[in-house]
């Protein structure tokens, strides 16, 4: 089309025409459209001589024509013309026949080329022979034939040019040689005819260039369009297959109607309904009633342009089972404001697995805690056992020197008593009077001895408490005096309590209680240590004991800071501590709880923040046979 714009373009087109048949697709197309042209040329090639024959019959009859020279009618030349016309018909028929063969189709252009040249030769020879060349328009059949051939057979421009040159040569040569062949001179101005033919060839070459390149451009445009189409189709196929084969359910909802307009097979499968079914119901109907309101509110917000979550979990109703499908829904952005595009993924199993996992984790945690607890208790009891061993060992080691000190101090006291007594004696009096320092020395000795005795007695008491506390020999149920255990524990804690905590003993009448004495002492120690620590500066610990039926009750109250209500439920949990890392193990009370449990007793706690805490321990006085 642009080829007409100027010679520059024409020139380019001309150059392009040399290259364009290197494109196999285009060449194929040229061959394809060459076939009907070939047939057309063949048909015209057959019909034209027949027409001429018919005309010549008429002419021969009438002896006059605008076509033939009248003087030649009925001569031998006329018979030659008839023979030539038969030749031409045969030529046309061969071309038609060839147009039906593969070989012929592939070589349409050379065949038609040869046909045209041969046709021109024969026709021209006839014309010369008939002496009709002088007649105007007598080249018309040939031109007509050429026009048809050129219009239908996609010759290359160069072929057209070559054809023109060939035809001109044929005409010129034949016209020039005619006198020799025919015995009569060519009456026509050959040069004029040839010039006309050359002009015609040049023009048709030009037209051919235009036509040919136009064809090529059309071909290219078509090819591009077809390529684009192919790509489009491929891409569509790809996305269609993605859509169809996706494991995620993909759906499109018309916002206006609230109904699904497109769903993929995964959606159908997930919801257990066919696409038609889904299209026929409001999309909210597939949402489980639990989630319907929530999801609808998101939808409303989204359609108003307000922010709404684009990924959330929801329960969907599936016709496949009575259980709802738990799905993860993702709303995808889309260019079309009229629709909502979303994807749903069935996470029911995932959620179930998750829940199972969580349960496992919980069990594991519980087991872990149990192990931790057991280990802690083991550790603690081991600690207590080794502490007991240590205490017993120390007590044993102290005993001998302590016994000696204690006894010696007592002996010294007795000895000094004797001396003091002697000092009263009349005989000794002057001696003491004479040496007042001796009297003083005796007094000092007596005094310091009193200190030694007091100190030794104190140590004796401590050692006794230590031994009683450790009670290593009592790893079995024994009947013991609870008060004794409390006392020895208090002695152990003496340094912790003195000057700071007043201990009030409100002991009732208690029979001996059957228990593990050392374990019970540990319980008292734990509670009393906690009480002492709960009391900030100064305070009171009150220990009450009484009998309630077949149970012994020990109540230990402090005036400490108390336990926060939210902690109260946790205080017997192993590892729970409010004392901070490194201060408390968080095990004391859990062990206490366990020990009381082992005794078939119970421990209760009542606390008020700022006022204090009371632990109440109830123990069966007699051990029942059913627990070891």
């Amino acid at each position: 089309m642009n080829s007409f714009a100027g010679f520059g373009h024409f020139h380019q087109d001309l150059l392009a025409s040399f290259r364009c048949e290197s494109d196999p697709g285009f060449r194929e197309e040229m061959i394809r459209i060459g076939t009907p042209g070939m047939r057309m040329a063949g048909v015209v090639g057959v019909l034209a001589p027949l027409f001429m024959f018919l005309v010549s019959l008429l002419v021969l009859d009438r002896s006059t024509s605008w076509f033939y020279s009248p003087e030649l009618v009925g001569t031998a030349h006329t018979h030659m013309v008839l023979l030539d016309e038969l030749l031409l018909v045969t030529l046309g028929s061969i071309v038609i026949a060839l147009s039906f063969s593969h070989w012929g189709q592939r070589h349409a252009r050379p065949i038609v080329f040869v046909m045209l040249v041969a046709y021109a030769m024969i026709l021209y020879m006839d014309f010369i022979a008939l002496g009709i060349l002088e007649t105007r328009g007598n080249l018309t059949p040939l031109v007509f034939l050429m026009m048809i051939a050129l219009g239908t057979v996609p010759f290359r421009p160069m072929q057209i040019a070559a054809l023109g040159v060939m035809l001109s040569l044929v005409m010129y040569t034949m016209s020039w040689q005619a006198p020799h062949w025919m015995g009569r001179a060519n009456p026509v101005e050959v040069d004029e005819k040839t010039a006309f033919l050359i002009m015609f060839v040049v023009v048709s070459t030009g037209i051919s260039v235009v036509m040919y390149t136009t064809r090529f451009r059309q071909y290219e445009a078509r090819k591009q369009a077809s390529d684009l189409n192919d790509r489009l189709a491929a891409s569509e196929r790809k996305y269609r297959s993605l859509f169809e084969n996706s494991a995620e359910g993909i759906f499109v909802i018309d916002r206006q109607t609230g109904r699904m307009v497109t769903v993929n097979p995964a959606t159908e499968e997930m919801l257990g309904r066919s696409a038609e079914e889904l299209y026929s119901i409001p999309s909210t109907e597939i949402i489980h009633p639990d989630d319907r309101e929530r999801v609808t509110s998101y939808h409303v917000a989204r359609s108003r342009g307000e922010p709404a979550p684009t990924r959330y979990d929801l329960k969907l109703i599936s016709s496949r089972s009575s259980e709802p499908v738990i799905a993860e829904l993702t709303i995808h952005g889309t260019d079309d404001p009229g629709v909502t595009v979303g994807a749903v993924r069935d996470i029911t199993e995932h959620v179930a697995a998750d829940r199972k996992l969580r349960e496992y984790a919980k069990t594991l945690e519980a087991r872990n805690r149990e192990i931790h607890e057991t280990r802690a208790q083991l550790l603690q009891s081991e600690k207590m056992a080794s502490l007991g061993n240590l205490v017993a060992g120390v007590a044993h080691e102290i005993n001998t020197p302590l016994g000696s000190i204690h006894a010696s101090a007592d002996t010294s006291r007795r000895a000094l008593d004797i001396v003091s007594e002697a000092a009263q004696d009349d005989e000794c009096q002057p001696l003491f009077d004479k040496y007042p320092r001796l009297k003083r020395a005796v007094d000092v000795l007596a005094e310091s001895n009193v200190t030694t005795v007091t100190a030794a007695e104190r140590i004796v008491g401590i050692v006794k408490s230590l031994r009683s506390f450790a009670r290593l020999d009592e790893a079995e149920f024994k009947k013991v005096d609870i008060h004794e255990g409390l006392e020895s524990t208090l002695t152990i804690l003496h340094h912790e309590l003195k000057n700071r905590v007043e201990v009030v003993r409100d002991f009732g009448d208690l029979p001996q209680v059957e228990c593990f004495p050392n374990q019970l002492n540990q319980v008292f120690l734990n509670i009393l240590v906690n009480a002492a620590q709960a009391i900030g500066a100064k305070g009171t610990i009150t220990i009450r004991t009484r009998q309630e039926g077949d149970r012994a009750v020990v109540e230990i109250s402090d005036t400490g800071k108390g336990i926060a209500p939210e902690h109260l439920a946790q205080i017997f949990d192993p590892g729970f501590t409010t004392k901070g890392v490194g201060v408390g193990t968080g095990l004391g009370l859990s062990i206490t709880y366990r020990i009381i449990g082992d005794h078939s007793g119970r421990i209760d706690v009542a606390s008020e923040v700022g006022k204090g805490t009371t632990f109440t321990i109830r123990l069966p006085i007699e051990r029942n046979g059913d627990h070891a």
Binding site: A392, G393, A395, H396, N399, T400, P401, L402, G403, S404, H406, A407, S408, D410, T411, R414, A415, I418, A456, V460, V463, R467, D473
Partner: protein
Amino acid sequence: MTADEKHIILIVDDEEMVTTSLRSFLELETDYEVVTFTSPIEALEYVRENPIDLIVSDYLMPDVDGISLLLQIKQLRPNATRVLLTGYADKENAIKAINDVGLYQYIEKPWENADVKLVMQSGRERSDLLRRLTSKIGEVEKAHGELMGIQNDLLKVFI
């Protein structure tokens, strides 16, 4: 044994401070002759050579423990009263051995001097009584033997 003879009390403990403090107390408060040893072997040698009225032995000692010492002394001097001195931790074992040794009493460390004095006195009295009993039995047997001799003589005379 006559009244003017001093009663001999033997004290054996591997800790000298124990023997010393016990001896000084007993020497101050009583008229017993107190002999102390820190080695049970030496104590045994002494017992072999000398009579004793009372033995106080520690339970836990190197070489020989208190129980076997007392057992050997029992064989050597059955009339001597045997007292065991024990620490707290060995009390159980000591008590188990009471019957084997024929223990008169045990004193727990740390001891009270007054208790010790009391045990010593009663123990000494016991051994005195035992000794007296033994001598009386000896006398009776001697008389019995004499009687039997007389009887034999009489029989010889009559038969």
